[in-house]
């Protein structure tokens, strides 16, 4: 390996708290060579973002860099004067951060901010600076940059704001780019577009990258080397393929166990004769817009069939309506049109006592575990609430049942008398699942239950859900944007786009040979944690262009027609129907006709 451009030794960052000094970064040492792409992976709270900032001599208030050295091209950045280090930041070391919209100054036009960044390291007249800003935006693939420089941060989408950040970071051709979870919060297709863009630009500028992420898929597809961070230390430093093939540290092994055990098997299908439990027919939900006769078409004619013991995945990007479908099924939202049949009975015709019984047989688990529990209640009270409403048992028996379900989700019953405060996301999500299980339901809606979890907690939760489903025979509707999770858990999958199901089939059918152009784009954009099929080695053609149409003014024909070269005249003018074909369904006349 050539002489590294960055040498970090014993870097430590501390935060003073009332309880004493917290040290998220204890003693971190690593190197980065020129043009190398290094991934830094770890749980939330492992200190990876703090490390990334500390490389620039910064710490989020009230933190302080406590010690260590950061040698960049032979100079220790931590000993430089304020002016000297400011000259290096942004010129030699670029950075892009998570939550790009918060990182942009909300009160200045984008063009002005990019101009300020440019002027920090270059000279130029006002007109030159502006031209430069437009040029940078064009370089990172923003349409109509002349107009965009006049925008404010809140007028940009997350993906666009992230591009503005990368435009600022790469304009000075830094020797090192620090990317701190640059795609968190972005949809998969946008994430792939963005990472590809970053990869390509860096190939031309010759920068090295430190890519901080929680996503193993990102590591596998874009990085040369992995650093694993755990409890403030680097616990593993290995080339990517070696890391995925033979992780050394117990934490790494934990993170990768799920992928290594399950391998490429799909979950077995339920028996062909299993009875239908939940069925949605022509499910439609519109939300009215205030002061307007128009409506938001959130869900449009969705049909779903879930059999006893079956897990059905519902995938799609934000705004596809998948969450609304889940809410309709548990009757948090009343559908505008269509029928929901549970065990053969139409929900809209249930008496109020039958509706109460339904509430006890069908449960939902939400995305944000912290938000889903009443912060003032103890775990025992939280778990008791459904029992109190639906069970005839006395308090002692109910508490015993609460301890039982805690054990079922692998939590100690010592938690019963604690409050949610201080519990991690993984533990809280288990409590939410325990609460959903406590009435022994037949059917559960899981609405992105893993999306806020760190890799290890996420894997543990997936394993738990798989076990529960096998042991208890509950049916799931598993709503997720994470295809890897769906692939491990579900028998069937439906792909949603703009309120419609565009493709449905067994997981194997859809994942191995997606037919609808949208499914193809989604699958090709998804980053599976497999370093032997790196996205950067196989350029993909299925990517979508442009932005998702507004769900208020929908296009007349196929909703995807404006986003790719596959559409013809019929696509643009004729509404597309979901057509059954060999145990699967697809909403595309060209697929049905065998044209694509």
């Amino acid at each position: 390996m050539a002489e590294p451009i960055l040498k970090v030794r014993d870097l430590a960052v501390g935060y003073p708290t009332p309880a004493g000094l917290l040290q998220p970064v204890k003693a971190v040492s690593f190197d980065i060579a020129a043009r190398e792409v290094v991934g830094l992976v770890g749980d939330a709270g492992s200190g990876k973002s703090t490390t990334a900032l500390a490389l620039l001599g910064l710490a989020r208030a009230p933190g302080k860099i406590m010690g260590g050295t950061v040698q960049f091209e032979g100079r220790d950045l931590l000993t430089l004067s304020d002016d000297e280090i400011r000259a290096i930041r942004g010129r030699d070391i670029g950075i892009i951060v998570q939550n790009p919209r918060a990182a942009l100054n909300p009160m200045l036009k984008i063009g002005r901010q990019i101009g300020n960044a440019y002027e920090a390291h270059n000279q130029g007249s006002t007109a030159e600076v502006r031209a430069q800003a437009i040029e940078m935006l064009r370089m990172v693939g923003i349409n109509d940059p002349e107009r965009r420089v006049e925008s404010f941060a809140h007028e940009l989408s997350g993906g666009m704001a992230q591009r503005a950040l990368i435009a600022m970071a790469l304009s000075s051709r830094p020797k090192l780019l620090i990317a701190d979870e640059p795609t968190s919060g972005l949809d998969v297709t946008i994430q792939a577009q963005f990472l590809d863009q970053m990869w390509q630009t860096v190939q031309s500028t010759g920068s090295a990258i430190l890519l901080v992420t929680q996503e193993l898929g990102v590591i596998a597809n874009y990085c040369d080397r992995v650093l694993v961070m755990h409890e403030g230390r680097i616990v593993e430093d290995a080339p990517v393929r070696q890391f995925f093939a033979a992780p050394q540290h117990p934490y790494s092994q934990d993170v990768l166990r799920l992928y290594r055990e399950k391998g490429s098997d799909y979950p077995p299908q339920v028996a062909a004769g299993a009875p239908v439990l939940m069925q949605a027919q022509g499910l439609t939900k519109n939300f009215p817009i205030r002061h307007s006769p128009k409506v938001v078409h959130a869900v449009d004619q969705v049909a779903l069939t879930i059999r006893r013991g079956e897990a059905v995945g519902l995938v799609g990007e934000s705004g596809s309506g998948k969450t609304t479908v889940g809410r309709c099924l548990v009757r948090l939202v009343d559908p505008t049109d269509g029928a929901i049949l549970f065990d053969g009975a139409d929900l809209s015709r249930l008496s109020s006592s039958a509706m109460r019984a339904y509430r006890s047989r069908v449960q939902i688990v939400f995305q944000d575990p912290f938000d889903s529990v009443n912060p003032r209640w103890t775990i025992a009270q939280i778990l008791d609430e459904p029992l109190r409403l639906h069970s005839p048992d006395d308090p002692a028996a109910r508490r015993k049942r609460a301890a039982e379900v805690l054990a079922l989700v692998n939590l100690p019953d010592a938690l019963l008398d604690r409050r949610p405060k201080g519990l991690g996301a993984g533990a809280l999500q288990r409590i939410n699942i325990a609460r959903a299980l406590i009435l022994r339901p037949d059917f559960m809606v899981l609405d992105e239950p893993t999306s806020v979890l760190a890799p290890r907690a996420r894997n543990a939760l997936i394993a738990l859900l798989a076990r529960l489903q096998a042991e208890l025979g509950i049916s799931f509707l598993f709503i997720s944007h994470d295809l890897t999770t769906v692939r491990f858990l579900c028998q069937r999958v439906a792909v949603m786009y703009l309120g419609q199901i565009v493709e449905e089939g067994t997981v194997e059918q859809v994942f191995a040979s997606p037919q609808h152009p949208y499914s193809r784009a989604l699958l090709s954009a998804h980053l599976f944690p497999d370093p032997t099929h790196r996205r950067v080695d196989h350029p993909e053609a299925a990517a979508l262009q442009g932005e998702i149409p507004s769900p208020i003014d929908l296009p007349k024909g196929c909703y995807l027609a404006s986003r790719g070269g596959f559409a013809n005249y019929t696509c643009r003018t004729t509404p597309q129907m979901l057509t059954q074909q060999g145990g699967r369904a697809v909403r595309c006349h060209r697929v049905v006709a065998g044209e694509i």
Binding site: R60, A61, R86, A87, R89, L104, F152
Partner: protein, 342 residues
């Protein structure tokens, strides 16, 4: 866009003022007070009582009184629609004219106090935010908590005792000018401006001297909440993601400071508006201590004399001014922060 917003706000404000006028109108008539006997005295004869009642228009049905007040019966007396607030029951002069005489005193006092409090509080709050938790910050914080919770009229008395009685630095708290001095012609009602307009620099100095203690007094209690707000907003701005990001891409200190300053000023506007509105009526205590004769003292006099038209007029005018101040500050806020849409 801007014009439409201002017009919309003004029309909402007018509706609010109308609601307020009607509420006040009924409220003071619902309360068990007898303004007539207050005027003619407890021992007045039945005839004298009835005569006074008729003279004040209180013998008419309440709804008729309301219509007259609002200006729907201009043949009886001009009302709000005609731009009249009625006639004071005590002095017999137009309430609008009386308010016009008293109001500038308060506006002058409050505005000067605000400017003074700002000049001190903004730099102090900012310096304190630069080193949060430091010794200076703790001291400033303690001061802001203390100053923000003080009885201003008592401090006024203390100031008078120390600076007038003990030290003799300040003039006696007996008005805007010494009782011996002839006031300048009231062109604007703001004495500092009027003395200058009249070309009387000596009187200007005298007026400023008389205003010094009351302004210091009000500025002292105002400085508490203002320092606290500036410090908090500045802290929030300095710890925001975008300031951290601005530092991490190597922007010069000067530019980063500008970013933080602007972000700290924008949310301050709302509180300033509320404080200003609060002080318009809250200044009454300081006016009383220094006998300045402002709108607050006029309100006290009217309330104690059960002078209904004057009470209605004062409440309406002060609220209207507050609403205008809120609107102006919202406009400034929107000019600083583009996220605030009209």
């Amino acid at each position: 866009m801007l014009l439409k917003y201002v017009l919309r706000r003004m029309s909402i404000g007018l509706v609010q003022l109308l609601g307020l006028s009607i509420t006040v109108f009924f409220l003071i008539r619902l309360l068990p007070a007898d303004p007539v006997s207050r005027l003619v005295g407890m021992n007045a004869s039945k005839e004298a009582y009835a005569q006074a009642q008729a003279q004040l228009g209180l013998d008419r049905p309440v709804l008729t009184q309301l219509l007259i007040y609002l200006g729907f019966q201009p043949d009886v007396a001009p009302g709000l629609l005609q731009g009249s607030l009625g006639v004071s029951w005590v002095t017999g002069s137009q309430v609008t004219a009386e308010i016009a005489a008293y109001l500038p005193v308060t506006l002058e006092l409050v505005t000067l106090s605000f400017l003074f409090a700002f000049a001190v509080a903004v730099p102090v709050g900012m310096l304190s935010a630069l080193r949060p938790g430091g010794r200076a910050d703790k001291g400033v914080f303690l001061y802001s908590l203390f100053a923000g919770s003080q009885p201003e009229f008592w401090w006024g008395l203390l100031f008078v005792y120390v600076f007038f009685f003990k030290l003799g630095w300040a003039p006696a708290p007996l008005g805007r000018l010494s009782p011996m001095t002839t006031p300048p012609p009231a062109t604007t009602g703001f004495i500092l401006i009027d003395t200058l307009l009249a070309g009387q620099p000596a009187k200007f100095v005298e007026a400023a001297h008389h205003l010094l203690l009351p302004v210091l007094n009000l500025a002292f209690v105002l400085s508490g909440p203002i320092i606290k707000m500036v410090r908090q907003n500045m802290l929030r701005a300095l710890q925001s993601d975008f300031v951290l990001y601005a530092n991490s891409i190597g922007l010069p200190r000067k530019v980063v400071a500008r970013y933080a300053l602007r972000a700290a000023m924008a949310p301050s506007m709302t509180l300033i508006g509320i404080l200003y509105g609060f002080m318009l009526s809250g200044a009454v205590l300081v006016e009383t201590v220094f006998s300045l004769g402002g709108i607050g003292q006029y309100a006290v006099r009217s309330v104690l004399a059960f002078d209904y038209p004057a009470i209605q007029g004062v409440v309406l005018v002060i609220t209207a001014i507050s609403l205008v101040v809120y609107l102006l500050l919202d406009l400034i806020h929107a000019a600083i922060d583009p996220r605030i849409a009209y």
